[in-house]
């Protein structure tokens, strides 16, 4: 079903919706027809919305017994050929890592929303945080490819949810939608419903005998067999050969695992997404995501009004990180400022790409968003060369 067929798409063009609500609307518009979840603040509204919205479009909503099960059920539904999603927050995201790794390894498309709240552990359930940046990339054991998107507004949550499904289906990978509590529960007037085309999975076709579930050229994504279509293939979390069955043969493992780990590399242009504001002449480049990026935007205006050349680089695709775009944006910047709601996770990646000398962090961990004034003040001091 494409977005245009959705009853939700027919709703009034301008709406007042929250971030989590927009996520639910985006999922339905993208063709998501299965949601499994477990209650957790501050993501529960997504489940609540979809428990009503999915039956309206012949989809299925199920509240599972725990976070592990909801991730598992989503993968199960997707293995059945249905676009599927789950949503959670910090502690639940930790629990989902086990099966998320399975989805990555067995190449099962799915979308996982992680609304970041204060941590560690139970942390601050109702306060924003951006401390899951590294977990979203490296949370499950072993090496695996993953795509993480970080919307920064209600409208962007809607569009990025649709893009998340498109990327998940096209590249047969879990896609994480990572945004913070502040945006999740922010209500904005937005215009939705101008549906975007959502890619469909490549399904196996042709003779059963010729079908090999994981046979694909390097950089290519193998076609998936839909149960019931007669291919009767095997899916496993063990390292597998092209035929889908377990193997420990070194060359076969290297060939197949190698393809898996590099499958996104040749599509980075298609996957990468970022926003550059006033980067061309920036002396100070701010790099930020989510609520911190919104504050940075305001800070940028304040700085520019004071005659300071400050720019903003905002990755929308957080992982794989838009390396080239950042390097280009920061080409002339003397200083780079990374404001974030943690103790330096995004900064670590920026330092990796630009070197530690010109990168400074601005971190807040008290459960409050960073104020534009804080960022502006820090940017101003960097612009003036005072540490």
């Amino acid at each position: 079903m494409n977005a245009a067929d959705s009853p939700l798409a027919a709703r009034p063009a301008v709406q007042l919706v929250s971030g989590n609500h927009a996520c639910a609307l985006g999922a339905v518009a993208a063709g998501c027809r299965f949601f499994a979840g477990y209650p957790i603040t501050p993501s529960s509204e997504i489940a609540e919305r979809l428990s009503r919205a999915l039956p309206e479009v012949d989809g299925v909503f199920v509240q599972m017994e725990d976070e592990l099960a909801s991730m598992a059920a989503v993968i199960g539904a997707s293995m059945g050929g249905v676009k599927a999603m789950t949503a959670t927050s910090g502690p639940g995201f930790s629990l989902k890592q086990e099966n998320l790794g399975y989805a990555a390894g067995a190449e099962i498309p799915c979308v996982i929303v992680n609304v970041m709240r204060g941590g560690p552990s139970t942390g601050m359930p109702t306060r924003p945080s951006q401390a899951d940046i590294m977990q979203s990339r490296w949370g499950s054991h072993g090496d695996y490819p993953i795509i993480v998107l970080t919307p920064a507004s209600v409208r962007e949550i809607y569009t990025e949810t649709i893009r998340a499904f498109a990327l998940a289906e096209k590249f047969r990978t879990p896609v994480i939608l990572l945004y913070d509590q502040a945006i999740a529960q922010l209500t904005e007037t937005v215009q939705l419903g101008d549906g975007m085309p959502c890619a469909e999975r490549l399904w196996a076709s042709g003779a059963r005998e010729a079908y090999r579930p994981y046979a694909a050229a390097p950089g290519a994504v193998p076609a998936m067999a839909r149960p019931g279509d007669g291919y009767r293939s095997h899916t496993t979390g063990l390292n597998h050969a092209e035929d889908g069955f377990p193997t420990q043969h070194p060359e076969t493992v290297e060939r197949n695992l190698g393809r898996l780990l590099t499958k996104l590399d040749s599509h980075l242009e298609e996957i990468a997404s970022w926003e550059c504001i006033d980067c061309e002449d920036a002396d100070v480049l701010i790099v930020a995501i989510g609520i911190s990026a919104r504050a940075s935007r305001r800070a940028l205006e304040q700085c520019r009004s004071r005659g300071l050349r400050v720019g903003l680089f905002r990755p929308l695709t957080l992982w794989p990180f838009p390396e080239n775009a950042l390097q280009a944006a920061a080409a002339h910047a003397r200083s780079v400022l990374v404001p974030e709601l943690n103790t330096g996770q995004l900064r670590l990646e920026v330092e990796r790409l630009l070197g530690r000398d010109r990168v400074a962090g601005l971190h807040r961990i008290d459960g409050e968003p960073i104020a534009p004034e804080q960022i502006a003040a820090r940017a101003e001091s960097l612009a003036k060369g005072t540490p």
């Binding site: 299965f34 309206e56 059920a73 095997h234």
Partner: protein, 284 residues
Amino acid sequence: MIVDSAPAFDVREYLRKEMMPHFLCPGCGHGIALRALLWALHELKVDKDKLAVVSGIGCAGRLSAYIDASTFHVTHGRPLAYATGLALARPDLRVVVISGDGDCLAIGGNHLIHACRRNLKITCLMLNNEVYGMTGGQVSPTTSEMRVTTTTPLGNSEPHFDACALAAAAGAGFVGREGTRHVPKLAELMLAGLEHPGFSFIEVLSDCTEIFGRKNEMGSSSEMILRQKSELRPEAYRDTVDTPFRANELPTGVLAKNARPEYGAAYRKAAAAIKAAAAKKGRK
């Protein structure tokens, strides 16, 4: 009757022959359990293309790879959760779960009780060999008292689970138990479970000769199979009054059955009501 059609059933039609011989140890009861399942599926005339088998981790979990169907070998303890998603999303598929005692009762215990409660049409086989075989023979939730394992060197002192009582208490639509010793009975029980409209849980008492049997000096596979005869109480004798003679025997056969609504159907009914309400609202 399952016995009568025995000659027509060739197990090889349901196996991925290119994967054979399977990886199980010589004399492992799991192979016998797999035959019984395939026999029951044959009796049911299941379309292999519409059959989905989900299995967990461990010796039992590996069985799915040998079945000529759409098979999913998933994470440890989670096959029922994966199967729940699959069965809800694809009610046209017949979904069978193969799990072991550790997979199903220890790491996956929560999923088991909720699958029983939810009563979605899934058939779950728990192959109980009282041990974590693949990891080298550690104590499991079903290891009998005083049995020696690699983590209970002086004998297990933890009480063991009665998986069937657990499943029945949690509300499973169909609960049964049988040993690998009596293959036609086992296949018949599986057939009854597969035919049940709701969630069916079947505990298969299987033997691990190489690890559990050896450690406990239980003899060869044939001796372990014969041992089942003294441990299992046939269904026909379930309610005999002379309990002193059978206090330690495990009842077999169908142990619980109820007609609670199947969850998938119940959900689709509720969903239709939501859809109708939305349509009505849309018209206004």
